[in-house]
Symmetry: C2
């Protein structure tokens, strides 16, 4: 009943040009037009383009991103729980983190064309140059879908439109091991001190580039590079695994 009222209300709402175009984009991505366009409007506003509301609070998509992150985490957790009835929680946690990590969400958001609907100001680190803006907005969009349509609908959207179309779970399970946890586990087992030294290379250049060095008992092991600290660490950890002949 409440839903019917909301639908009727949305039917008589007069959209601005911007809202009309956003509504079309949501329909393409989510599969259904918005009931409450306002939550979707908020979901695409990056903090750089946020304006203060009447309460002096800068409204951007960051709160929705926080909500969407939790919603997505739960949907993927349940999916893997059901898909792998005989795998332990360590496996489930690891595979989930490979699915919902920054990088994989960024890639997915790019494929979905999220870049077209993000509102942001300026470039550089806070604009689309800042890589995680896509993935963050996708999370915010998931939060918006949840608020607009509820858990079941949102789960269907995530499962059918995102997971099934864009993730090859078998591939994820087989590949891309987490080298960093592997070397940390090894160090703990062998009772060795381990730490990752991160250096930012030529700090003025863009995109930023990082070097990571694995130190075991203060002795240098693998060295790695990447466009993010995490990637550099993974690279360094992978090289350390090779040096140590870890499987």
């Amino acid at each position: 009943m409440l839903n019917l009222v909301r639908r009727l209300k949305s039917f008589f709402t007069i959209y601005t040009e911007k809202e009309r175009s956003l509504s079309r984009a949501v329909k393409t991505i989510v599969g259904h037009a918005p009931i409450n366009i306002h939550v979707y409007r908020l979901s695409v506003i990056h903090s750089s383009a946020a304006k203060e509301n009447n309460n002096g609070f800068k409204e951007s998509n960051e709160r929705l991103e926080y909500l969407g992150d939790a919603v997505l985490g739960m949907i993927v957790a349940e999916y893997l729980f059901n898909k792998y009835p005989f795998k332990d929680e360590g496996f489930l946690t690891e595979i989930r983190s490979r699915i919902v990590n920054r990088e994989s969400l960024n890639d997915l958001a790019r494929k979905l064309g999220i870049g077209e609907i993000i509102e942001y100001e300026g470039g550089g680190r806070n604009g689309v140059g800042h890589k995680s803006i896509y993935g963050d907005t996708l999370e915010a969009l998931i939060g918006a879908v949840y608020l607009d349509r509820g858990y079941r609908f949102c789960r269907k959207f995530v499962m059918n439109k995102l997971m099934k179309n864009h993730f090859d779970i078998q591939h994820i399970v087989r590949n891309n091991p987490n080298y960093k946890s592997k070397v940390i586990e090894w160090a703990q087992k062998e009772n060795r001190d381990i730490r990752f030294e991160i250096t930012e290379l030529n700090q003025d250049s863009f995109p930023r580039k990082f070097e990571a060095l694995v130190m075991v008992d203060e002795e240098p092991f693998g060295k790695g590079f990447g466009l993010s600290k995490k990637k550099a660490e993974q690279d360094a950890a992978q090289k350390t695994c090779e040096m140590l002949n870890l499987p």
Copy 2:
């Protein structure tokens, strides 16, 4: 309809003595008797008491704990999102972590009498001596309620039976600041290197006790103690905050 079939089925299921007593306990804690007793049975089996099933997989409550953790995270995320419409995601994340952290879940589980229904073998670190066993089982129980009754029911259970009865949100918001993040934030702002040195004190004694030392640019600052690494770090961070006059 499906639910009706499940209820009828549960009505005609003959419980063992153990199941009858568990069913009563679930009714007390959750407010309703189980429909599918088996998920609740699994939710109280600590890994120390797990037995291999036909597939050679040791079934304990760890998988349910993984699921319950995600469900709880989402319910609390949504609750705080709605309760604090003008607080940013940093605040929401911080308050959520204070609510769902190991310690607070352990306390809550103890209050609920979860200890009475946990099945475990032996004592020491893997028995009830291992502190997080209560909180872990509570998370597994939340996972079981979710599987047995669905999201809406589980949300009501968490909100009405756990949050409203046992958490004073105002108190949580006002108190117990995360000193560790505070000093790390300070160090990042001031461009200082910071790390926490953890030492386990007299390793053979039980319970284990830890010492933490905050090192800023390799100079010792606050020193703290605790029964867990985390507590020792918090203690050391709090002392460092005092030394640095951080608010």
